[in-house]
Symmetry: C2
Subunit: 210 residues, 2 copies
DNA sequence: GCAAGAACTGAACTCTAGTTCAATTATTCT
DNA sequence: AGAATAATTGAACTAGAGTTCAGTTCTTGC
């Protein structure tokens, strides 16, 4: 016998794998999944095309992993914002602001995660992602409905889905193609307006207005 | 000389052209633009692939024309609903209901018109389409802000964009993949809920609740 | 240094879908 | 009927992107 896998080699392989993941995420962030061809990923990662396939079974697998990681980060941030003892409407406002701020900062990534058609494997991950959001928002919506700050006769699943859609369309849709070209003040104004709009949509009739 | 274009031939050509447009629209309605390959369009239209290219310069041109026609119909329906002397909030509710009902009846077409990535030519048309909606909704939003039924300190462009996004996500997004499989009652409930949500989002604080 | 095995390479292969065009068929007018 | 022209056809061409794999290079243990 001669060759054996050593810690050094394992670390090197792991580093290459991670580099491919990072490069792919960068490409997705700047141009969506459509901009991340295997050839481009390989070139920018400094490896041959074939090497990508030693680390990932297929482009779909690579995409699914990038998607999973990117969405985990997003969902965690929103989850942190919701995990508070503040009133439900304050918590939701904070979470929506986090969501909106991150979307406006990386509109292409937001679009890639929310809406870009990619393929079955990513669609599966996207379903999980949406469900994760839906569950987070829904939890707080339901809490607010109990606490009295949110309208009690609403469909919480519908409300959370519509909220995500409203933010996505307002911030990363074609009406705001220059979203990442906004100056800081306009961006803050936009975030403020859209969060207020979303909150008002679910708020109880008699509740306080901000 | 011998051959000259006769009215009969012109009519036949026009009929074929129209048939291709109709078939393409049907294909888009059932599977999005992605399902409308030139080969499929040709086959279902009963012509050869090459013939499609005598009637349209390219697939993109064909798609742009189908898109233009389909969106004209949609925008006109919404425009009719808004063109009323009723209070602005009633007018908007009616228009949103029309929009939502049509979207839920043809979710794939709605998705194709609102969000499906197709190509630059269709994107151009889509921009016009969204602007047409934005202008329609905005007109009524502004009227309502004057009349006092809508919150006066809102960004009307943002509100109309967010409204379209909310409906799209709630009715045709992945959370409702079975939208066209809903029974009539569930569909009506969904439409009712989403319209109420959207209206409440833009309504003035003191305004009447439905 | 050397043999065994793994990692790496990238040109070639495959697959899909839009487009073209030489050959065929159809229509019109004399 | 026949000539002129247009319409139609669909196999072949093209282009782009994912995938493969035989050959090369690198790593390891003796």
């Amino acid at each position: 016998m001669a060759y054996r896998e050593t810690p050094r080699m394992r670390a090197r392989k792991e580093a290459t794998r991670q580099r491919i993941l990072d490069i792919t995420q960068q490409l997705v962030a700047s141009g969506g999944f459509g901009a991340a061809s295997v050839a481009r990923v390989a070139e920018e990662s400094g490896v041959a095309i074939g090497s990508v396939y030693r680390h990932f079974d297929s482009k779909s697998d690579l995409f699914a992993e990038v998607f999973r990681h990117a969405t985990e980060v997003e969902v965690n941030r929103v989850g942190e914002a919701l995990n508070t003892s503040a009133p439900a409407d304050k918590a939701l406002a904070e979470a929506l602001e986090v969501f909106a701020r991150r979307a406006i900062r990386s509109p292409t990534m937001a679009w890639a995660l929310i809406a870009e058609p990619v393929g079955p494997l990513v669609d599966e991950e996207r379903l999980r992602y949406r469900q994760a959001y839906a569950e987070l928002f829904e939890q707080t919506l339901i809490r607010g409905m109990r606490e009295g700050c949110f309208r009690p006769d609403q469909n919480s699943k519908l409300s959370s889905a519509a909220t995500v859609g409203a933010i996505a369309e307002a911030l990363v849709g074609p009406l705001s193609p220059a979203a990442d070209g906004l100056d800081r003040d306009s961006a803050e104004q936009l975030i403020h307006d859209v969060v207020r709009l979303c909150l008002q949509a679910v708020r109880a009739p008699g509740g306080q207005q901000q």
